[in-house]
């Protein structure tokens, strides 16, 4: 953790890493494990899918590698297009993880851009919070929706930087900034970062953390990118805490103007 910083607190638990990572799209379990380790992440997302009949019994289970004693497992509702499906997925995840009730809610609206359906997201969030879930919610960068999700009782609001898996970076820093300023709960950028500098930009805006998957998994060297992301998150956080210099239109000499001998 960065010096002079306080830990990130989500649903009453403190974390020293502000980088949250997904486990999708890796070449194999070993690469997943190494990338996770290099990222230093403490919160790790997983998806919930059907167990196939006749599945290879020797195939390692993801939860044997990402063990709940080492990581906080954050099951997601990826692939859900309705509030009902998202709620069902969360209930199955809670059963799968022995009552662990921290979930990442995402309800999608469109296959092409994977933008969230905020109406269904709000509906699902209400049901889940009432049922005792601690909801970290993926949403658009719309301040009013973000506020409403916080009022419902979500433990973290996670606006997108850009479409999921696009790697386009923070497309609308001003909207992200509004959300950070207005909400009391942790605001994480979820989705859209492509490389280390994108993560640093998100953190410099004052985000409490960044959640990413493809930026690491789809890098040529995912383990090295995981390490780069870890440093970028820390660098961005330190820069935010340090407070950047004001932007000026003209130059300002760094060396003394007086005392020249020429």
């Amino acid at each position: 953790m960065t010096q002079n910083d306080t830990p990130l607190e989500i649903a009453g638990k403190q974390y020293h890493s502000r980088l949250l990572v997904g486990t999708g799209k890796y070449k194999d379990m070993e690469q997943t494990r190494l990338a996770l380790e290099a990222s230093g992440a403490e919160i790790v997302t997983v998806a919930v899918r059907r167990s196939n009949i006749g599945q290879n019994p020797d195939e390692p289970n993801l939860l044997d590698i990402i063990t709940p004693d080492k990581y906080t497992i954050l099951p997601n509702t990826a692939g859900c297009y309705t509030a009902d499906d998202a709620v069902r997925t969360c209930k199955l995840a809670r059963e799968l993880l022995d009552g662990h009730d921290l979930v990442k809610l995402e309800v999608l609206a469109d296959e092409k851009n994977l933008f969230p359906d905020v109406r269904q997201t709000l509906k699902a969030a209400e049901v889940l919070v009432k049922d005792g879930f601690k909801v970290m919610v993926y949403t658009s960068d719309d301040l009013l929706i973000a506020k409403e999700l916080e009022q419902i009782g979500c433990v973290s609001v996670m606006p997108l930087a850009a479409p999921i898996g696009s790697g386009l970076g923070v497309r609308n820093p001003y909207n992200i900034r509004f959300i950070i300023e207005e909400l009391k709960c942790p605001v994480l950028v979820d989705a859209g970062v492509g490389t280390a500098s994108d993560s640093a930009v998100a953190m410099e805006l004052g985000c409490d953390g960044v959640l990413m998957n493809t930026a690491i998994a789809a890098a040529k060297n995912p383990v090295l990118m995981a390490s780069a992301m870890k440093k970028a998150i820390e660098a961005g956080r330190e820069a935010y805490l340090a407070g950047r210099m004001p932007r000026k239109r003209y130059a300002s000499a760094s060396s003394p103007v007086d005392g020249t001998f020429f």
Binding site: Y26, V46, S51, N52, Q55, L62, P75, L92, E95
Partner: protein
Amino acid sequence: MDMIQITLNGENTEVAAGLTAAQLVEQMGLVGKRIAMEVNQEIVPRSTFPEHSFSVGDSIEIVHAVGGG
């Protein structure tokens, strides 16, 4: 043996009448795996697998964790 029709992970299938959730998990080779089950969109807690038997037309989903963001 009496057989009943159920839907298992989206596939229509026949199982023995009176089959329990525990027996189904065994038949699927999933014993000891971290899985969760719902029947007709209601969670069946793992602790109740030995007693839970299926009825005609049940829709069963068995899931596990996979890589995802």
